[in-house]
Amino acid sequence: MSFEPFIVRKGLAAALPAANVDTDVIMPKQFLKGIDRVGLDRGLFHGLRYDSAGASVSDFVFNDPRWRAPRFLVVGPNFGCGSSREHAVWGLMQAGVSALIGTSFAGIFFDNCARNGLLAICAAPEQVKAILACAADGPISMTIDLQAQTIVTRDVRAHFDIEPSRKQALMSGLDAVGVTLEHCDAIAAFEAQHFAQHPWIKP
């Protein structure tokens, strides 16, 4: 098993509605100098959490004592664009974020989420709007049921779509490399045929 399976989770949701929040913002460059995954929660949204003098920005969601550590984030369109750095996903998870709800996610980031067990939900714009509307005044309690594919708050009950394979992977928490290595004979057979057809490709 490579991560904790996602079945049903409950917690507080916070809103971060800006568009095009890129991975440089989610995990700034100064936190990318490690060779392990530790301590990335300290880097998460660092430029938004602290001002240039190092003081805490009080109205940023991760600094607001009402949330402290939101379990879910409702995000703006094209969240996670930019650099491929998976550190952005690791940082979110280390800070306790378990799912993201938005209208669209950048491709590499979206895949990075799935590979680590972070549920990124592509919801319809009106659903995201409705959830943002209730989250605007303060923290809202939310339940995400991946099995049933539902998001439930006091005021909203929404169904979301997810690719079956992605759902299965998140719910099983299996080690993807291990699963693929069960196909090692197929990979070897493919290679043999691929190199026979395209012999210049063989490195």
């Binding site: 930019g82 590499i108 691929h194």
Partner: protein, 472 residues
């Protein structure tokens, strides 16, 4: 394995079909995809190796992968083997150990072929039409200029690739971007891709692979095509392709790792088949008229916040994202872009630091000086580009004009080394991202072509390069 998308297949579908090891969902939409090559860098690979070590797994085909130090190294002219800081040193030390332990070739910072990964790979002849190349860097889309499917992956996928030579891959939709007509004087490939990103938005191609076609694309050099494919990820594309032609074959021939002899003839015969079929289905088509494209610059903090240099900064009324961007950039709606003064100029990055880029910038700088108060730097895309530029005397043009002539690396494109903007500094930059803090906390980045950076450096403000008679 056939995609089931009918007889008329796109180039993208052909490349995916040719690399399907297994159909994972019964629809051939999610597949186990064979990956021909990868390139590793020092900052997105370490955790992949750590997991391989922990699981006691080996690398499936070490010779399919090259390691290059490029992100954290110094670009100082007199740099040595050591990194500018301890953390970067730890990363490069671990990178060297991983490469040695797992049998992967690595170009360290003093290697004669060191450079930015996406510049080095084509220089080595490691990027060839028809290949699938995945790497832990979003700008791997660059390789589409050669008719190779290149895309960026995260560290978990690097681990998966290293252990299995494959990725679990979800097929993209097809988009064609046709650029008809001819580019005007002083307009280059960077302007095409910036115009496209502005047109369709920063997520306009999310979920798509883009095939670029049309007269203006065919007319471009392979290096100019690389700029376009490189930045396609800035509108969300997870793959960018241009059908390979004789220019591409000529660009590969004779490179150190290119096929030769009988294999070359076999390769060429295959490469000539790599194009979309007549009548192939594209889920979306965008058409640009090359003659209408002007030199472009960004004014905001997302690559789609761009405009022709002749324009003014748009209104932020009712536009929260625009207002936020203008506040960060300290700019006002309605101001002319050519009134924006700069303190820094940077030519570098995997987008625009190849030899043609340097030639175009040098053409503008010849006989001119960088404006007083502007610090200007050029970091060639690779050590080979640097040597070539020196052989052509371009280094002297840059130095005489007042530019710093630096060593190769990613440098101030993402500022993971000691090349950074100070808070509030404004930079004309040939790079690919103008995100908040990208080139340094509080730094302000305006994206543009290398010749436009040179023009801005000379004038001390954003400038229309077409005012310089040399053109590009």
């Amino acid at each position: 394995m056939d995609s089931g998308r009918g007889t008329g297949r796109t180039l993208y579908d052909k490349l995916v079909d040719a690399h399907v090891v297994r159909d994972l969902d019964g629809l051939c939409e999610e597949v186990l995809l064979y990956v021909d090559r990868s390139v590793l860098n020092e900052y997105t690979s370490p955790q992949a190796f750590t997991r391989l070590r922990a699981a006691n797994r080996s690398v499936w085909r070490p010779r399919a992968t090259l390691g290059v130090v490029d992100h954290v190294n110094s670009t100082a002219a007199d740099r040595g083997a050591l990194m500018p800081d301890d953390a970067g040193q730890t990363q490069t030390d671990y990178f060297a150990r991983n490469s040695a332990d797992f049998g992967i070739e690595m170009f360290d910072v003093l290697h004669p072929m060191q450079g930015i990964e996406h510049v080095v790979m084509p220089e080595m002849g490691l990027v060839q039409p028809g290949m699938v190349i995945a790497a832990g860097d979003s700008h791997t889309t660059t390789y589409g200029a050669f008719g190779a499917l290149g895309f960026g992956i995260g560290t978990s996928d690097i681990e998966h690739y290293l252990a299995t030579q494959t990725l679990v891959y979800r097929r993209l939709k097809n988009m064609r971007v046709r650029v008809d007509g001819r580019l005007g004087f002083g307009v280059v490939s960077k302007d095409i891709i910036m115009a496209l990103i502005r047109e369709i938005g920063a997520s306009g191609a999310t979920g798509y692979a883009i095939e670029f076609a049309g007269e203006a694309i065919s007319a471009l050099s392979v290096e100019a095509r690389m700029t376009i494919c490189n930045m396609a990820v800035e509108c969300g594309a997870r793959g960018a392709l241009i059908a390979p032609d004789d220019k591409v074959f000529a660009a590969i021939e004779g490179k150190p790792r290119a096929p030769y002899g009988v294999l070359w003839d076999q390769a060429i015969a295959y490469w000539r088949t790599l194009r979309s079929d007549e009548g192939a289905h594209f889920d979306r088509e965008v058409v640009l008229d090359a003659s209408e494209i002007e030199p472009m610059v960004t004014w905001g903090t997302s690559p789609d916040q761009a405009a022709p240099i002749s324009a003014t900064i748009p209104s932020s009324a009712g536009q929260a994202d625009t207002a936020r961007a203008l506040a960060y950039m300290d700019l006002k709606s309605g101001a002319a872009l050519t009134d924006i003064a700069i303190q820094r100029a940077f030519i570098g990055s995997c987008t625009n630091a190849r030899i043609e880029d340097l030639r175009q910038a040098a053409a503008v700088l010849r006989g001119r000086r960088v404006a007083v108060g502007v610090r200007a730097m050029v970091a060639p895309g690779s050590s080979a580009v640097r040597r070539q530029a020196e052989a052509e005397g371009l280094d002297q043009v840059f130095i005489t004009a007042g530019f710093e002539w630096r060593q190769s690396g990613c440098s101030m494109c993402l500022a993971m080394n000691d090349d950074v903007l100070a808070p509030g500094e404004r930079c004309a930059s040939s790079t690919n991202r103008n995100f908040e803090g990208r080139q340094g906390a509080g730094g302000r980045t305006h994206l543009m072509s290398p010749a436009m950076v040179a023009a801005a450096a000379v004038m001390g403000r954003l400038t229309d390069v077409r005012k310089f008679s040399e053109g590009v």
